[in-house]
Amino acid sequence: MSPLILAYVAVAGALLSGVVALAADRFPAALRAGSFSILGIAGVTAVAAGGWALVTGTRTTAQLPFGLPWLNWHLRLDPLSGFFMAIVGIAVIAVSLYGPGYVREYERDRHAHQAASGESQPRNSLATLGLFTGIFVAGMLAVLLADDAFVFMIAWELMSVSSYLLVAYQHDNPANRHAAFLYLLLAEIGALVILLAFGVLAGFGGNFTFDAMRAAHLSPAWASLAFVLALFGFGMKAGMVPLHVWLPEAHPAAPSHISALMSGVMLKVAIYGLIRFVFDLLGHPQWSWGLTTLAIGTATAVLGVLYAVTQNDLKRLLAYSSVENIGIILMGLGLGMIFIGTGHPVLGAVALLAALYHSLNHAVFKTLLFLGAGAVLYRTHERDLDHLGGLIRRMPATAFFMLIGCFSIAALPPFNGFVSEWLTLQAALQVPALSSGVLRSIIPIAAALLALTTALAAATFVKVYGVAFLGQPRTRHVAHAREVGLGMRAGMGLLALLCVVLGVVPTLVIRLISPITRGLLHLSPAGATVRGWLWLTPVSPHVASYSAPLVVAAMAFTFLAGYLLLHRRARSARRSDPWDCGFGGLNARMQYTSTAFAQPIRRVFAPVWQIDEHVDKVQNSATRYTSMRHQLHVTDWSWSAVYLPIGRLVLAAARRVGRIQTGSIRIYLAYSFFTLLLLLWLIT
């Protein structure tokens, strides 16, 4: 028995859950009861396998007799892949608790549609959903196990293609088809670039196993080329600006529990790929790579959150916020490369730790938020924030879990998001160790932009929570929403609990993940937990410390004192109307909307978006009333600035090339003849 065996079980379980789901079109219970419980077991096994590899810090490898004749499948489970495997496992467990309730939506929808249209073939096949969910999870787990480029690419493609099919699941909506196509296109371009990056390493290493690549000696120029290719390829999948355009389209289009997996976990698999490639396969990161990663990460974080804050569609907003968080992770990685590249591996380990911790945290809270958004969608059929409101009274449990998710993502102490951003800032603060004045003045600016990102993220999630869950319901649906079922609440509750635990005892988590830095950098950030579990001290106790348990204790003390001194002695509160300036008649439409909330930020940072806003006055001549019509379209610049020109270029090139297509067979034969001549001349 070894962790690797457990990992096989997890992959096989995920595949099995897909196979079981094939019966779901006839027996819907097969998906709800069968497929999801097997998936849950696979998730538990993945956490066990990953946890085992992490706790023992061991590395197990194996070769399976599949694949190419000259290349067996090489598999390996080490602390790094174990850590990410545990992340995948946690999200999968939550999703398998949540899923059975959530897919009822599609069941109901199917039957309603079938009855209405009289078609024999139902619209959304539950079997498809279950099958590709299983393959998707298996693909992600297999990417983490791969120890040669061949297995890696196969697993990567399994993950990409099955998630494409899941994005296209509700394909009767043209917007979803478009989103899925865009996703597939960019995912495949990204995969080709990753293949090229592996190609560079394999060219020097002699073959496609990761061991050979590790042993390869590359000149700095070739290493830099491999790095740029890897950054582009993995960054495409992770949603790095400006390669992120597919992400806000594709993630919201998928069913919510799949969006949760894509945003929460699949992006982390891309981050895993980048870490594996840069810190393990390439080995010696140069500081210039770090600077590039830091710059791109900062841009990704700031632009991601700015795009998020203006969104009104809840799931789209969450997708943009994933872009932001990937930016923060990339900043951590960039800092790590800078410190390692300039000969400060101890500080590099702190930065790497921050990035890894944020990957874990983002997986937990973003999965939670997507599941919460799914619960809202399930009960109200609304994704538009401006149609929601007051859900804290209708769906108290969901509202509570979402609140914890919002605290975490807004990086408020003592929740988990705060710890990793604090670590990232601490890493950035160690710049006096660097000798280059340029780096010493650039890194603080990046850190200040991280502070801006955090503050804007707080604004974004005040908006989300305030508009959707607080205030009064804005539509009738929402006013009559009910709480979701036990399973869905359990899925969210598990993640909410993790948000708190990961925030309150960071030292234990850091002790768990330090074998990763030991494996990659051959040293561990020993200082981080030097004063015991109560104190987090990333560099040394003198430099900085943070004690989340004591913060929680102090908070609890304040509440207790407030309760004993004030609340218990007071008479019960009187309820009355809110302040209405004496005019009376406040209604739900007078509340601040999501659009209104973001208006000051939209105005301050106006150049970031393409804003199309007009106010039309409509004069009704009969009644002499003037009505106003306000239209606002806020779009992402990157689409028109980067993608449309590329698209036009490709089309123009195609037209040029198209000239040689005359349609005459003789001319085509002539082309073949001359090509043949040319080739013969070349080889002789």
Partner: protein, 319 residues
């Protein structure tokens, strides 16, 4: 161990002094402003009387208020209490400073602000939402400037622990650092924005449309309002103490001896009283800005702190 316990006891005592002294500072500023504006001034103890009166009153809640609305005053006050506990007021050796460094301090402010904004949106009136939106916007612009100013300090002292940093500055003696001047100006501007003073916000406004901070607390009454008002006074005091004890730490007690502590108390009281005079003058001379001028104000603060970092890197890294 006894020494250790002594330290923690002292830290608790100092926090109480902090919390208890904050209304006095607020009363002093109010009195100064009244004098400067030719108005009859209330007693310096007026804030205590206001708080006592509010604590004794019966609570009135809006119909739609959820539990978030009721929890917020306690969270806001608790966050300020924690923040006050980690800032050295009278003496440098402060064991609680290790609980949270200066970045966590900013995190406590963010926590209080987040709850305050949620409470503003909870009732579902336009004023609350408006206040929440404006407060979050101003905060998001102030935070980078604040962090850059802090960075100047932490890069010099190579620590984010306030106690250790002040110790470092005291040990370094009287060194004129241009970067600290920039950081001081920047931090002062951020403090004005964050504590809702003129020209960003008017703490005494009665017009709902011009409110930033006040709009989010419009619905509060009785003990809830008392806690939030008190927390606001504590926040003002924290910023004042930060500015005076980081940039002019002299006089603060370096060891826990009785004469040292007495001197420290007198010194910090004098520094705060002087700072209050400056604030009162500033608020009398300036008028409130339009909301969309605020980004320029805070942008200027950011540029100042950026200059602080650059001067540190260029001029002082050899020190």
């Amino acid at each position: 161990m006894a020494d250790n316990l002594n330290g923690w006891l002292w830290a608790a005592l100092q926090t109480l002094l902090f919390i208890g002294g904050a209304p006095l500072l607020a009363g002093w500023i109010k009195r100064l402003k009244c004098h400067l504006q030719n108005r009859a001034a209330p007693s310096i103890l007026q804030p205590y009387r206001d708080l006592a009166k509010l604590f004794a009153k019966d609570l009135v809640l809006a119909h739609d208020a959820s539990w978030i609305f009721r929890v917020t005053p306690y969270v806001v006050f608790g966050a300020m209490l924690l923040a006050a506990a980690v800032v050295p007021l009278v003496a440098v050796p402060l064991p609680t400073a290790a609980i949270a460094d200066v970045i966590v301090l900013v995190g406590f402010f963010a926590l209080a602000r987040f709850f305050q904004a949620l409470a503003g949106m909870d009732i579902g009136t336009a004023f609350g939402g408006m206040g929440a939106s404006r407060e979050m916007t101003v905060a998001s612009l102030a935070e980078p400037a604040m962090l850059m100013a802090i960075f100047t300090l932490t890069m010099t002292a190579s620590t984010t622990n306030l106690s250790v940093a002040i110790q470092y500055i005291l040990n370094a003696g009287l060194v004129l650092r241009p970067s600290f001047l920039f950081a001081l100006l920047s931090l002062a501007m951020v403090a004005v924005a964050e504590t809702g003073r003129i020209p960003i916000d008017n703490p005494a406004t009665h017009l709902e449309l011009t409110m930033l901070h006040e709009a989010t607390v419009l619905e509060y009454s009785a003990r809830h309002l008392a806690l939030i008002d008190w927390a606001g006074m504590v926040k003002l005091m924290i910023y004042a103490v930060l500015i005076s004890n980081i940039f002019l730490p002299w006089g603060i007690a370096r060891h826990l001896t009785l004469p040292g502590l007495a001197l420290g108390t007198v010194a910090v009281a004098a520094k705060l009283a002087l700072l209050a005079v400056l604030l009162a003058l500033w608020e009398t001379v300036l008028a409130k800005m339009r909301l969309f001028r605020v980004p320029q104000f805070l942008g200027f603060a950011f540029v100042l702190s950026l200059l602080g970092i650059l001067t540190h890197v260029i001029l002082e890294s050899a020190l």
